[in-house]
Each structure stands twice: as C-alpha cells, then as structure tokens.
C-alpha cells in the first residue's frame, strides 16, 4: 500500500469516529433528532464525501459541475450535519443550534440546508427524483453522477420500484443507489414486517448492477463506490451496505425499537468520554 493511500485510509477511519462522536453530541443537545438511523449510515457518507467519490463545491452547493447526492432517508442523516459543516457548507458553530429557533438544521433535514438537494424524510421519494435528475443529465449530455442514499425500510414504498424499473429501462448508468441496509424500520426488523431480504437478487432481477458490502467498512465502501461510479455499462448501480442501526451505542445497536428509543444522556456522555478507548478498538 502506498503512503498516500495508507494516509487516506487512516483519515477516513478517523473521520468516521469523529462523525460518530459529533452525531452523538448533536443528539445530546437535540434529543428530537433520530439517532439510531443516523449511526448506521456514517461510513457511507464518509466514503462519499471524504473518499473522493463525490464532486462537490461547498462554497457553491448547487454548482452545475457537482455530482448530485439525494439523501432520501432524510431523518436518518443527522450525521450529515457535522460532515457538511466540516467540509465548509456552513460554519461548525451551526452544529450547536440544531433544532433551535433560527437554525436551518432541523430534526428532519430540509433543502434549506446547504448541501441538501431535495425534500427528504418523507420516505420513498428520493430514488424517483434522482432518476429524473439522472435522465435530465443524460439528456443534457452532462457527465455528472447522481447518488441516492435510502434506508431499507423505505423500500417498502412502492414508488421506489416504479423508479427501479424506470432507471434500468433507461440505462441510467449515471445513477448510483446506496441502501443503508440496517434491517430495521420503526417498529421491528423489516424481515418481521414485510420481508425484502436479498435485495441484491431483487435489484439484479430488475436489471441493476449490484454489490453487497459491510457498510461499516469505510475503505471497502469507498473502493466499491469508486469502481461503480466509473463503470458505464448501461446499468444503474446499487450498493447494498449491511449495517447496524444504532451502531456503537449499547441498548440501541440492532434493537428492533431503536428508531424511537432515546438513550439516557448519561450513557451518551460516558460514551463520548471514553472515546479514546473506542478509537483504539476501531484501529
């Protein structure tokens, strides 16, 4: 491994931990935010934004040359707040204002936040809108790519499958879907509600190019996303990232009701205090 790559890999892992810590800190200040679904998706966003996957311009968020990133699982993306602040989309001090009067950082992110493209959080809309954007870019003969991050629970919404059929029919190989497959929606494991296990087989049968990876392995995520992005084979791409909802928080991790459980403030405080131990464990 060359030095540069070694350094980037290290930086990615360090960033994952920093985002995890900041997300907990935001939840401590603003318990209205959804914590568990924001903890399963951290490595995905770190790979996209720090792993040189996405082209973005934080001083001009809607720059024409950016890759479009649609964050469909809106409320489960509070971890995007520290990432966008760190990258200069808005000041880090804004992180202290989440859910407070006058701030643009709410409990569910809205497109008033620099870096958010569309209305999110009402689930199941992102993939269709992203498909329209991807078709628009192709029609304009533009080379930008479209990334869309959904949860697995929101794939119960039928509109996703309308878009899934549309995207493969139109050979939208500039469209990249990442599913944060934490296996839990609000009330239970998705397999106990209406199972859509083996998303790779399902999406493949709809004509998508699919891969499945450990969604907490940020290096592999980055490598597979990089490969998928440059593969122009007439097929939309899907990356099924196996993740744990509530990752790293005892009582929350993989708990069926983690979406609506708020861990005690003392627990979060002690986790933040002992972060150095966790850092060693991650390394």
């Amino acid at each position: 491994m060359n030095n540069n790559l070694y350094n980037q890999n290290n930086a990615l892992q360090t960033k994952v931990l920093w985002v995890w810590k900041e997300t907990l800190a935001i939840h401590l200040r603003a318990p209205e935010t959804r914590l568990a679904s924001s903890l399963s998706v951290i490595e995905i966003f770190v790979a996209l934004y720090y792993g040189e996957i996405l082209n973005f311009n934080s001083s001009k968020p809607l720059d024409e040359t950016r890759d479009r990133c649609i964050i469909s699982k809106g409320h489960g993306s509070i971890c995007m707040y520290p990432i966008l602040a760190d990258l200069g989309f808005f000041p880090l001090s804004e992180l202290l204002q989440v859910c407070k009067k006058g701030s643009f950082l709410g409990g569910i992110p809205d497109p008033v936040i620099p870096g958010y493209e569309s209305v999110n959080g009402s689930l199941g809309h992102g993939l269709g809108v992203a498909s329209g954007i991807a078709l628009g870019l192709k029609t304009k003969k533009k080379n930008q790519d479209v990334f869309v991050v959904t949860g697995d629970g929101e794939l119960h919404e039928g509109a996703n499958w309308e878009a899934i059929m549309f995207a493969s029919h139109h050979k939208l190989d500039n469209l990249n879907l990442i599913v944060d497959n934490n296996g839990i929606s609000m009330l239970d494991h998705t397999d106990n509600i209406v199972s859509h296990s083996d998303l790779v087989a399902r999406l493949s049968s709809f004509g998508w190019d699919c891969e499945e990876v450990d969604g907490h392995d940020v290096i592999t995520l980055r490598d597979v996303l990089a490969k998928q992005k440059i593969t122009k084979n007439g097929k939309p791409k899907a990356l099924i990232a196996s993740t744990l909802k509530g990752r790293g928080v005892p009582g929350l991790e993989n708990a069926p009701l983690s979406h609506i459980i708020n861990p005690k403030p003392e627990l979060i405080e002690s986790l933040l205090k002992n972060l150095d131990d966790r850092f060693l464990e991650y390394k």
Binding site: D110, P111, V112, E117, S118, V119, S122, H125, L127, G128, V129, A130, S131, G132, I133, A134, L135, G136, L137, T139, K140, G158, A159, E162, A163, M165, F166, H170
Partner: protein
C-alpha cells in the same frame, strides 16, 4: 367565420409541439396517456419525451428531477390519476420543493368532472379543484374551451412554479372565437347582468351560457364570469366587479361544499368584506354508478340546466 372546435389537450399539446422546435428545455412526460398530437411530440422529439408507464408517482418524481436540472416539464395523465394517485409526490416534490428551488412543472390532467361520461367514478374527477387548491405555490388552471386552454400555454412555459391544468376530455364548443380573454386577469366577464352573477369554470361555463339564455326569457339578466385561473387572478378587479351584485352563484363540476370553487369564492368574498349572498351549485357529494348522457348525469347530481334554473329562480326571489 367560426373556429373549428378542438379538444383542449390537442390545442395545448400543439402549442407544446411548436415550442419544442425552438426551446430544447421542454421535456414531456406521459403516464401512458396519449393523443394524436402527442404522437407528433414523441416522433419529433424522442429524447425529450418519456412514457413512465402506468406509474403516476414516478411521473411526478421524474418530472421533479428533470425540473431540478432546468427542464420545463409537462406531465400528462388522466385527471383523477395525476392528482390523487400521487398526491404526496405532488405535495413534497413539487409544492414543497418549489418553495426553495425554481421548478417549472405543469401537470396536464384530462377528464375534468364527468367528461369520461360512461367510465364511472374511477375515471371521473370531482375532487381535484379542492386538492390542488390546498397546495401553496400551485397555480390551478381550468379553461372552458380549447382557445382559452391554448392561451394558458405562454404563462406555463415562461413562469416557474408547479401548475395544474384541468382539461375536459371532450371537444367543447368554442367560447372565445371573436374575442380573447385577458389571461393575466384569470377570469373573463361574459355578461354584465344585474343583481346576481354566475361564476363558473371549465365545462360548467357551457351550462351557464345555456342557463343565461333560458333565464333571460323570464326577464332575468344574470351576470356571467368564466374563471380559468383559480389561484392567481386579478383580485382587486374581481372584488370590484362582485361588489356590484347582491347575489353570487358558483357553478362547478366538482363536489359542492368540499373546498372547490364555492369555498374559494366564499372565502374571497368574506375576506374582502363583499356584501353578497351566495348560492353554490356543485355535485351533491356521493359516488354514483348510474349511466346516462353527461347532461342526464348532471341533472341527477344537481348541476344540470333544469336543476340550476330552479335553484336560481328561488335564489333570485330571496336576495
């Protein structure tokens, strides 16, 4: 010389086809719904036409995505499906998103009211005025003939924001043959009248014209206004016109008392302190599976010519 009547959609789609020749930002999206003029669009501009299939939710989301990339989008389907099957997509990806992003998406719904006469309540549409009116940022356009439908095109293509065009499915007689309505007013006064005034929209303008003819034989001269933009009209002008009457009759091919044209004018006159009594003519709320001609169906639900005439006579004697 009279103008040959056309279907609203054919006149409007002809405008789109013409404009697409010089404006490569226009994109047409259909939910598997056609017309002879649409065949020209998809043949001549295959890269700016797509059929999403019978999938209205995707119709709206694809349209929103295209609009985010700067396209002026025309989305096309049967009226009840393009409004109700995908209402939350319309709310989130059009009405709400257009609060912060410039989006030009025009929903063309064909089949207002009872215009799919024998298809029954699934294909008829009595709720769309209510639903689209509820959404901020939307323009609600409801022309009464193909001439006024085509005249709405310029505003649709040139201004941002989501719009809903409520088109009749049938070929209706031409109203605007010798004169043109002022589109920016959003309404047109057809008859001044005295004491009371009808405000009608869409197909019901044709019923209202017949009602006017009949009632004039009884020596009653009723005013008549065609309202074709129910959201962005010249409010001061309408205020001053309505203020000269003591009775206002709303006539719509939609459910009565459920938030359509009647509610809109009730709210307008009360907010503006216009001292006027109201008679609301609309479809008696309920779903019917009976078959018949459009005018027979209209009589059954309280919006036929005879039904309106008797309601107006009573109203005239009361005000």
């Amino acid at each position: 010389m009279s103008i040959k009547a056309l279907a609203m959609r054919d006149a409007f789609l002809e405008c789109i086809h013409q404009q697409m020749k010089s404006d490569n930002k226009i994109f047409f999206v259909s939910a598997d719904f056609g017309s002879p003029v649409l065949d020209k669009i998809r043949n001549d501009f295959p890269t700016r036409f797509t059929n999403v299939g019978i999938a209205e939710q995707n119709l709206i989301n694809i349209s929103a995505g295209l609009a985010l990339e700067g396209f002026k989008v025309f989305a096309y389907a049967i009226a009840p499906f393009i409004t109700m099957r995908c209402f939350e997509q319309i709310r989130v990806s059009l009405a709400l998103l257009s609060e912060v992003r410039p989006l030009n998406v025009n929903l063309i719904g064909v089949g207002a009211g009872y215009s799919y006469v024998v298809s029954g309540p699934t294909h008829q549409c009595y709720e769309d005025l209510t639903l689209i009116r509820a959404l901020p940022n939307f323009q609600l356009l409801s022309p009464s003939d193909h001439i006024s439908a085509a005249l709405l095109f310029e505003g649709c293509v040139s201004s941002n924001g989501p719009k809903y065009l409520r088109f009749d499915a049938q070929v209706l007689p031409v109203i605007y043959d010798s004169f043109k309505p002022k589109i920016s007013d959003g309404f047109h006064v057809h008859n001044q009248g005295k004491k009371m005034c009808i405000v009608a929209t869409g197909f019901m303008m044709h019923t209202a014209l017949k009602v006017l003819d009949e009632i004039s034989k009884e020596g009653i001269n009723v005013g008549l206004i065609d309202i074709f933009n129910l959201t962005n009209f010249n409010a001061n002008k309408l205020d001053s016109i309505l203020s000269s009457y003591s009775g206002l009759i709303t006539i719509e091919e939609g459910f009565r008392g459920r938030g359509g044209l009647d509610s809109m004018l009730f709210e307008f006159s009360s907010r503006r302190n216009i001292d006027i009594q109201l008679l609301n003519v609309g479809v008696e709320p309920g779903y019917s599976f009976e078959l018949g001609t459009r005018s027979e169906l209209h009589e059954k639900v309280g919006i036929g010519i005879n039904s309106i005439l008797s309601q107006i006579r009573l109203f005239f004697n009361k005000i």
